[in-house]
Amino acid sequence: MNVTRDRLVTPLVFVALLAVPLLFFDPSTTYISRRFIRVIIFAIFAMALNIIFGETNQLILFMGGIAAVGAYTTALLAQYLGISPWLTLVVGALFAGTFGALVCYVAARRQFTVIVLAIVTFAFQMIISEVLVGLRDITRGSTGFPFRGLELPAVEQLTGLGPFAVQFYVLVAIFAAVLGVYTWLKRSKYGLAFAAIRQDEFAARATGVNVIRLKVFAGFVATFIIGLVGPFYGQTTGLIIPSLFSFNTVDVLVLIVLVLGGLRSRYGPLVGAAVVIYIDNFLGNFGQWRTVAFGILLTILFLYFRDGIVPSLQSLVDDREFPAALSGALGRGKSK
């Protein structure tokens, strides 16, 4: 990694993020505010996936379900105890993280391959959806319930910012924290261990790496993050509802965001989220052709840009050899 460039990029990214609400948030166009919030949320989801999948090669397909676990726990517990969801937020995240860690533990112990773990978690995703719809008496079934308990009226008053702006800043703070954790992980012993696990789990074990513990650790961190952001995701729509957390609405999108942005890159998730959410909204204008257009786009992007936007740009800047970088971007060869 190029450290000087990193020093330059990070402040730039955050200045840009902090400026977003001032530039674009307007009370009469809340839909624009929401788009930006969605970008941040999906960027954080993708960061979490980056940690668990990018680093330790555990592909989970129940991110929607985990986010739902976080959101429902937070909201329902707050309601039940009659306290603010800000207090139950961490409980929800811990619950989600524990669940995720447990699944990862079983998978690591039983030595599931990537695909088997993917399918097991996919099955869990289906079960979570079914249960949320089925336990109508507790969860209010498929129509969900309104949720906007994660506001900070005091901060709004103090700063004169609208609720969406405040929410955006809260999420930027979470994003920064996750980015910090990720950067630290990569540069510490964990980074070494992750690289070893990813390339040859068996050899990693023989070298002394506690593969199971690390996989569970990565699983916990990732699902904790997803569970933490879940309630904010509900907050943005103003609703907590099963369909918000379905496989198609969360997992598919997060995967696309991560792969497109760039697996194992620090800013890939953010860039990917921005691009994908933009495309998603843009395609809305296609009416009944939306799905078709989305499918074509996905296929093309994966076939020709699967090394990710950020890594491609990086190599473009790094070696300045245009033809080589271009062929990298067009991604026939395997990524380094």
């Binding site: 088997v116 989305f294 499918g295 076939l303």
Partner: protein, 284 residues
């Protein structure tokens, strides 16, 4: 009571055999070529649609069914020769992941097209009369399903165990270079298997439509079930997939009758998870 149980079992068996066929569609391509084919459900739906159009002209289900399957095979061939060729250039895990992503994109594309152009619901009728077996009434469609699926299983089993080409498909998954050294062309075998899997899924879809409504929205559901069945069956085992489909079919039918609610779906996925956790070492 006994008759009711028998009815349930037969219904479950028929349903299970359909699941087995769909599962085989996944098993063949993933087990033999490393591509998790998320377009499978689309193949099933397209077969039903074509079949139903042919029925409008030639009112003979067998003819129309073969027509539907043939059309899907052709469709699959085009997909294989064009997009999948790019995927097959990769190897190992790269191919697996690219396979998932590309077929995901393709499935959205095709589903979208179906929604725009063929959004109707489709049913097919078997004309097989229902029969009475010791008080248990067995529906005509169940009979049609069980008989035709059995024949298909037999053919598939024979193909993969007793023909050169069938065994060659297994060499390609086990060692692509090895198969080249034997004079087998992996890409050709992969194409054949892909087309075959689409045809099997098409047949599964047609049998499914004898009983239930098939619409573009069914594609995702059918793919999901197919993946579950295939994974529970061991991903690369044809026999395992057939068994898994039948067992899961009976489980959801019985669970549906007993609990009569959303729990039957939960049961299906829970059963799948249980099997996976219990014996994942069989699953590569």
């Amino acid at each position: 009571m006994l008759a009711r149980g028998a009815e349930l079992l037969v219904d479950g068996l028929a349903r299970g055999m359909i699941l087995s066929l769909l599962g085989l569609g996944i098993t063949l391509v993933f087990g033999l070529g490393g591509i998790l084919n998320l377009v499978l459900g689309v193949f099933a739906v397209v077969a039903v649609i074509v079949c139903s159009f042919i029925l409008g002209v030639v009112p003979e289900l067998l003819v129309a069914g073969v027509g539907g399957v043939a059309a899907v095979a052709l469709f699959a061939l085009v997909v294989d020769r064009s997009v999948l060729s790019l995927v097959y250039e990769e190897e190992g895990e790269d191919r697996e992941l690219l396979g998932i992503f590309v077929t995901l994109g393709l499935s959205l594309l095709f589903e979208g097209l179906l929604f725009v152009f063929f959004a109707d619901s489709f049913f097919l009728e078997s004309d097989v009369p229902s029969i009475d077996l010791g008080g248990a009434s067995i529906t005509g469609s169940s009979i049609a399903v069980i008989v035709s699926a059995s024949v298909l299983f037999g053919l598939i089993y024979y193909f993969f165990n007793y023909t050169y080409l069938g065994i060659a498909t297994r060499t390609v998954i086990q060692d692509e270079t090895g198969s080249i050294l034997c004079g087998i062309r992996p890409r050709r075998v992969q194409s054949i298997v892909f087309v075959l899997s689409a045809a099997i899924a098409g047949a599964g879809g047609i049998l499914y439509a004898l009983d239930a409504e098939v619409a573009p929205a069914s594609a995702f559901e059918l793919t999901t079930f197919a993946i579950m069945v295939s994974i529970v069956g061991g991903v690369d085992s044809i026999r395992g997939t057939v068994a898994a489909g039948i067992v899961l079919g009976i489980i959801i039918t019985v669970a549906g009758a007993l609990f009569g609610s959303y729990l039957s779906t939960v049961t299906l996925f829970a059963a799948a998870i249980a099997v996976l956790i219990y014996k994942p070492e069989q699953i590569s």
